[in-house]
Amino acid sequence: MNNHFENVKDIFIDSVEKNNYVELKIAVYNYQLLKKSLDKPLKMILLFGKPGTGKSMLLNKLYHNLKESREIFYFDAPILSEKEFLRRVYESLTGKAVPKELRVNFDGLLRYCQKLKGEREIVFLLDECQLYSEALMEKIRLLSDTRTVKFIITLHKTDNEDIIAKQHFKTRIWEVIELSNASEDDLHLYIQKKLIQKGYVEISNMIKKKHIKFIYAYTHGNFRETNKFLYTLFDIYEYFYENKPHKVSIDKFSKKFLEMTALKLGYIDG
């Protein structure tokens, strides 16, 4: 067996790529829900959940699946400057670049959108909207009121603040899809599918329910945390396979390495 743990660990690098998307039951359900919501005459749709629950992944998946069939634009990174945001929206709508010395007039943009009503339906996917200012969110709301532009936004759910309660979200958002952490079984499936997708069936078979239980105890089914855990775990595997191969069993998943991972990530005290 070659040391392919290096490649295995790369599977768990936290990235929003459509190839990394794992179709779990719950993810499929949420995706279908989101797709149906797009067909409804809604102005804004909110994807809501704790960090690492798969909001960005879902948005990314939606974008890649629909970009051929609809007018859909994906702003994966938050655009904090109002000027820049309006410029990007204008360029997306018109397909024309705005000269550097000019800026987009919001009233003009609003009138332009109103003129397009009934002719076009443009979808904007905005990630990390909790970083947008209230003034900018208000402008987004006004644009969505024209019914030409539809926004799907994602928000982090924080413990201190229930953002949904904010006035502009309370009154404008018509559809809320809340994402949550995976269950233990879903997590098992997630890890297995990720490994099998890349052809590491042997390693996938090594991981038993008790190992998932151990991982779940610390990651609570959060996809980002799980990815981090598995990345570190296979990093340790890689090291031992190279330097102390007698300590690595290819038939059995190592509890020692699991515990070392938890130690390294600070889940347990050494």
Partner: protein, 287 residues
């Protein structure tokens, strides 16, 4: 690479800590198991102990401090016939608490016990002593009378002369003085109490203690009479009177409830009619 080595070290340390914790847990389990087993095997002892404590909780007789020192003793007062001597009471306690350790028995024997003074004997002795004394006094008086009579012969049919009358008055005065002395002996004069206290400190006899208790009671010093009754009771527990004076003193000190409790618990064992009568008296506050 160094990080991994360091991480592995940390893992070994972590495992060692885990093992220690597991060992501790196992140790605790073993300790509790052994403790449980020991408690199970010693169940009778614990049960006895519990029973004793329960009895104490039920009785709560408000005895003086000396008596209240030993809860086991209080239980004994309730359960055992009080007419028993101190030794008998101890034996009974020992037989009841077979499971108790020797140390506990030793403690019981050291505790103050409320014994009962054989007051009837004491009384009979005192009375006979008094009778003897009075007889002796009267003998001497009679002897004096006789000698006086030799000197003065009263004529039955005639009035006495002035000189004859003065002689008789002197005799009566002598007799009166003798009688006063006798009363003082049984009374509560400071002299008598002092003498008796000295006597008691030398002899340590229950009789003296009881006489002192009576003297103080008669004097109205109920705290002292209570104390001396208890002392007498400690020395000899065979008779009712120390109990009675103790309870009477309690009553006089305004502790009617305690007095009744003590007498009731004593009556349960002794069935003494005198005690019953005293209980009724105290109940009706006719003491």
């Amino acid at each position: 690479m160094d990080n991994m080595k360091e991480l592995e070290k940390r893992w070994y340390f972590y495992k060692a800590k885990q093992s220690l914790l597991s060992l501790n847990a196992v140790g605790l389990v073993v300790m509790f198991s052994l403790g449980g087993y020991y408690a199970y095997t010693q169940a009778d002892v614990i049960k006895n102990l519990f029973n004793e404590k329960t009895l104490i909780a039920e009785t709560k007789i408000d005895l003086p401090k000396e008596v209240m020192v030993s809860p086991i003793l209080v239980a004994n007062v309730q359960e055992e016939p009080v007419v028993n001597s101190v030794k008998t009471a101890e034996v009974v306690i020992a037989s009841k608490n077979e499971g108790l350790s020797k140390a506990v028995l030793h403690e019981v024997s050291l505790e103050p016990i409320i014994p009962i003074v054989n007051m009837e004997k004491e009384n009979s002795k005192t009375t006979s002593t008094r009778k003897n004394t009075s007889k002796r006094v009267y003998k001497s008086v009679n002897h004096t009378n006789n000698s006086q009579r030799k000197m003065v012969k009263a004529k039955a049919s005639t009035y006495l002369t002035a000189s004859e009358l003065s002689t008789i008055r002197t005799e009566v005065a002598v007799l009166d003085s003798q009688r006063t002395k006798k009363i003082n002996l049984n009374g509560s004069s400071a002299n008598y109490i002092g003498t008796m206290t000295k006597k008691f400190s030398k002899s340590k006899k229950p009789r003296e203690a009881l006489l002192l208790a009576k003297a103080f009671y008669a004097k109205g010093d109920y705290s002292s009479s209570e104390k001396w009754a208890l002392t007498a009771n400690k020395l000899d527990s065979s008779k009712d009177e120390s109990w009675h004076i103790f309870a009477m003193s309690k009553f006089k000190l305004g502790q009617k409830h305690e007095a009744l409790k003590i007498l009731s618990s004593y009556y349960k064992k002794s069935h003494s009619p005198k005690t019953k009568a005293l209980i009724i008296k105290i109940k009706n506050e006719r003491l």
